[in-house]
């Protein structure tokens, strides 16, 4: 161990960072190219080993940036290309934010790999599955580690690809293949925004490096009217707002926010561990991560911040409502994920950066645990997902019941598990952070957030109760059985993490641990917010509001409210599905069928998109092809001119009728005409 202490980890890490990406990438390559011949054991050895190796490096990096003497390590890989004079470096940077993310990604990823070795053991595409999973980890690492927007974008699209491949993993089912495609395309809509955001920053600042942007952001004056470049005539603030909003469009795609959330519920078509890893714990949080990364820029744009917060709040409540009437265990979790992501966006939207990231982390733990638990249930119940058929599974699957229960407590925000602290940190931020420019935003987001929390509590407990308690309602002849160690182990580890991560969120005096831990990362953002607030106060002629307090005393009222809300949700769910009110749901469904159908059909949003975007688009395409392309351009103009020429030719041809005297007449007349012209 002597060599380890002799080594300066910061120096070694400069060249080791790339291996976080490369290990899983090689794993994907090996499994993808040779996996068929390797045999199952070797396949998951390679895959899990690769992810574990990445996890080790990430952990060392986290340790280094936390306790070492550097706060940021950059691995300069190679110069990718240049946008004109703007160089695009393929370089990776790890700081505390990305280190935490990386540990979550590779750690949870590793657990899910382990889980999958049993869950997927009977699938013939075993090697393919692990190749895709490793590809995902590689891409996600690139997304997190990228030290500029473009490297991030590489990972951004890379995870999209992995997600596409994994959702459509069972591609022989057309619906699943479609779900994969839908995910990719909807994400592309977001990517379109992301791209435009990058372009805006290129045009505005001439750089896409996070560090340079951060340095630049310190000296911004939003009211400056720009004179040069493509934004001449704009104010700097407007241009930044434009960039932020475009980037946020990208985030709504990747993180399944309104209006682009529609792909995520369908994404449940993939294998359940995939849903756990990609569509709950890691990939979908990329949008939050990106906004947090660029927090120093968002800080200068109150409009963008408000948009982020409001969209997050609306998504949180909207998705929660949709989860009410879902009977598919994975769909409920999916809507729950959308809803929780909404919470995170409220966090970044109101400037509670650390809270959002904290919620991201805890959510990764408990939601991964929930998804794996649901996978465990499905594994036991012959891949059935309809919770109406379950019930009383507690007796058959104790481990699953226990871990699922712990995670449900965590997610519903019941004291004292991690979810409680993370969610309340966000709600507190929403409530306490002043907003000079949009004064209604704090109240609005807080109120909506509470309702969403209530809903969360309700639908989660509903699902939990229906699945594990009561009596079995369907599949009566089938006996469920708990999975093996490879499945139970990760469940317990995740459940443990969901509990243990609460220590970071305890409201100590001077702020939570996690808050202080991330303070260096978000210092620029906080300062920018302070500057912006000062400028705003000056402009509006009001005093600068004091910064909100974070200690226990300040947070206590919020805690109490949140706890009450969570318990109410629990109570309703108990009453309606386990307690005496068991027939009420059916009565509601009968009494207000339209309302029930609206809930059950997810408020017809998919149908709306189909009618407003997809159908007109393909109708336009067909119209353009048949009428404009094939008929107007090709037939009428192109071939028409040829046909017309042919007709004229046929017509002229009959002048040539073989009579020599007629020829002579024509010649004579022509000669006379020429004579006439010459003489006249």
């Amino acid at each position: 161990m002597e060599w380890l202490s002799a080594m300066n980890p910061a120096e070694g890490l400069q060249d080791a960072l790339r291996w976080i990406v490369l290990f899983p990438l090689f794993g994907a390559a090996v499994n993808g190219l040779l996996g068929k011949r390797l045999g199952r054991a070797n396949v998951h050895l390679v895959a899990c080993g690769a992810v574990f190796a990445s996890f080790v490096i990430s952990a060392i990096a986290l340790y280094t940036v936390s306790f070492g003497d550097v706060s940021r390590i950059t691995d300069q890989w190679w110069r990718w290309f240049s946008i004109g004079n703007v160089p695009v470096e393929m370089s990776l940077t790890i700081d505390r934010l990305s280190a935490v993310m990386m540990c979550v990604v590779t750690g949870v990823g590793f657990l899910i790999h382990i889980f999958s070795t049993e869950y997927m053991s009977h699938d013939e595409g075993y090697w393919r599955y692990f190749a895709y999973l490793n590809l995902f980890v590689a891409a996600m690492s690139l997304l997190v580690l990228g030290s500029n927007l473009l490297v991030m974008f590489v990972g951004w699209e890379g995870v999209g690809l992995a997600s596409y491949l994994l959702i459509g993993f069972w591609y022989t089912d057309d619906a699943k293949a479609f779900a994969g495609r839908k995910a990719f395309v909807v994400n592309r809509v977001g990517d379109f925004g992301f791209l435009l955001g990058i372009f805006t920053l290129v045009g505005l600042f001439g750089t896409i490096e996070f560090e340079q942007l951060k340095a630049l952001s310190a000296s911004i004056t939003p009211d400056t009217v720009l004179e040069a470049g493509i934004f001449s005539g704009w104010t700097l603030g407007a241009a930044i707002t434009m960039a932020c909003l475009f980037l946020f469009l990208g985030a709504t795609g990747k993180s399944a926010q309104l209006p682009l959330y529609v792909w995520l519920p369908d994404a449940m078509a993939g294998p359940t561990p995939v849903s756990a890893l990609i569509h709950a714990a890691t990939m979908v949080t990329a949008g939050v991560y990106m906004v947090a990364r660029l927090s120093f820029l968002y800080a200068w744009s109150p409009t963008a911040m408000a948009t982020v917060a409001v969209v997050g709040a609306l998504t949180a409540i909207f998705a929660a409502l949709m989860a009410y009437a879902q009977n598919d265990i994975k769909k409920v979790l999916a809507y729950s994920t959308v809803s929780q992501l909404g919470f995170m966006f409220i966090g970044v939207g109101v400037g509670a950066w650390w809270a959002a990231i904290y919620h991201l982390v805890t959510h990764a733990f408990f939601k991964a645990c929930l998804f794996l638990g649901s996978g465990s249930v499905m594994h036991a119940m012959r891949d059935e997902t309809d919770i109406r058929l379950f019930g009383g599974l507690r007796k058959e699957m104790w481990h699953t019941w226990a871990t699922f229960g712990i995670s449900t407590i965590a997610i519903t925000g019941v004291l004292p598990l991690s979810g409680f602290f993370s969610k309340d940190a966000i709600l507190h931020g929403a409530h306490a952070n002043p907003n000079l420019f949009f004064p209604w935003v704090p109240t609005f987001t807080y109120a909506i957030g509470l309702v969403a929390a209530l809903s969360t509590s309700f639908y989660m407990w509903r699902m939990f109760n229906l699945t594990f308690h009561g009596e079995r309602r369907g599949m009566l002849e089938h006996r469920a059985h708990e999975g093996g160690n490879a499945m139970v182990g990760p469940l317990w580890v995740l459940a443990g993490l969901a509990v243990g991560s609460l220590v970071w969120g305890l409201p100590l005096s001077g702020g939570a641990r996690f808050e202080n831990f991330l303070k260096p990362v978000f210092r620029a953002a906080d300062e920018n917010i302070a500057r912006m607030t000062a400028l705003g106060a000056q402009k509006l002629g009001v005093p600068v509001p004091p910064p909100p307090a974070h200690d226990f005393a300040a947070m206590l009222p919020g805690y109490l409210i949140a706890l009450v809300v969570a318990l109410i949700g629990f109570g309703i769910a108990w009453y309606l599905y386990l307690g005496p009110g068991k027939d009420i749901p059916a009565k509601i469904a009968q009494g207000a069928p339209a309302l029930y159908r609206a809930f059950a059909n997810k408020f017809y949003v998919d149908e709306f998109y189909q009618a407003v975007i997809v159908a007109p688009l393909s109708a336009t395409a067909r119209f353009l092809w048949r009428v404009v392309d094939a008929f107007a351009i090709d037939k009428l103009v192109v071939n028409g001119s040829a046909v017309l020429t042919g007709w004229i030719a046929q017509l002229f041809r009959y002048f040539q009728d073989g009579n020599v005297q007629r020829y002579a007449v024509v010649m004579a007349v022509s000669a006379v005409v020429i004579l006439w012209i010459f003489l006249g």
Binding site: A642, T645, G646, I648, A649, Q650, F652, R653, F655, Q656, G658, V660, R662, Y663, A664, V666, M667, V669, S670, A671, I674, L675, I677, F678, L679
Partner: protein, 499 residues
Amino acid sequence: MPKYSSADILGLAPALVLIVGALTLLLLEVFQESEKRGYQAWFTAIVAAIASLVALPMLDGEAHRILLTQDGLFFAVADRFGGAMAIVVAAGLALSALTAGAFLGARKAERGEFYALAMFAASGMVLLAQATDLLMIFVALEIMSISTYALAAYLRRGMRTTEAAFKYFILGAFSTALYIYGVALVYGATGGQTGLQQVAEAASEGSLLLMAGVAFVAAGFFFKVAAAPFHMWTPDVYEGAPTPVTAFMAAGVKAAAFAALFRVFTVAFGSEDVALHGWMNVVVVLAILTMVVGNLLAIPQRSVKRLLAYSSIAHAGYLMAAIAAAANPEVRAAAGEGLLYYLATYTFAGIGAFAVVAALERQGAEGPLMWDLDRFAGLARVRPALAMAMGLFLLSLAGIPPTAGFMGKLLIFRAAVDAKLYGLVIFGVLTSLVGVYYYLRVVVYMYMREREPSVGELPAPRLAMGVALALAAIGTLILGIVPGFFGEIARASTLALGG
């Protein structure tokens, strides 16, 4: 009295060689057995070769006025232009003769008269290109025409042949009459001059009588070059005449007529008043008309021979464009260069194409079936070389690089642009696009269709035909790829046009 010198003989040498060759052939015909006539085509080709050899000295010398009288009258000139034209005509003669050797040989119709007539016609053409006197032009024109009337009627037994000859003859005679009446009027208008130079001196500004004469002379020429609307005889005659004769007419007669037209119009009627403000607009209109009519009417044709006939009208249109450009004295040299170059390219590609038609022509049957497109179907499989040669000729006719036709068109359009005749050029390129369509149709049949058994057997390949096609193909390629070779000659010859 004129002074005779050996230079006079040298200047007339090409024509003389051709005439002597023709006479020799006729004499040999008397003494030879009738079975052994295979040599005649080769003999003609050799005579043509000698004729072009003796024309070579004309290419690099001062223009020599033949039989110059004391009053400065001369009827012909030995200049570069004449020399170059003599070579072109000789090449046409040789190629047509070889084609004819194969064609007639296959039909057992070889006779000395045929080649003798061809050589006489060629001598007329050479003289036509050299002549500098309207009367001399008349005589040369008639030597050429009367020989070709007879050639067209050569296969007397065919219905179509005689009809073609008849039409050609009637209308040809008519045009001759127009021409000579025009000459008479010019003669009167210039106070008794028929020498081109003298006419030019006497007629620097157009009097009414002169312009009437010019009109008639022009009409006569327009007929010979098949410019619309004087073109109507062309498809019928070209289709009906024996194919080698058609080839000879399309290339040789047209070339000589254009040479004479160019010389007459630029030398005698080349003054600004007569040319730029006189005949230029008419020629422009006729050029456009000719291009349009020739190209359009070729589209619906199924007989390849008739198609090529219309195509030859179209080519006359492009050549007319050169004449139109030549109205501008500044552009005259460029226009002449283009004209000469174009004639050379057309001689190779045009005769080559007709030769392929001759090689495929169905024996025994009559009617359009003889040259129907179906006979070309699948040719690339059966006779790949023949198909490739035909393809090359067609590309050249269509003006697609790197064949000769492209360079020819380039030079002519260049002259027209120089003369600011933009409309003419645009018409030219657009109609040549139409041309591409029907040339491609033949290529499509050759390469992209399967052969129908009903079209019958192809005639056996013959050596003479092979040589003719090979020469034509080589000529087409060389003129396209090494344009400088003939281009320099063409340029030099029109820079100092004698006469």
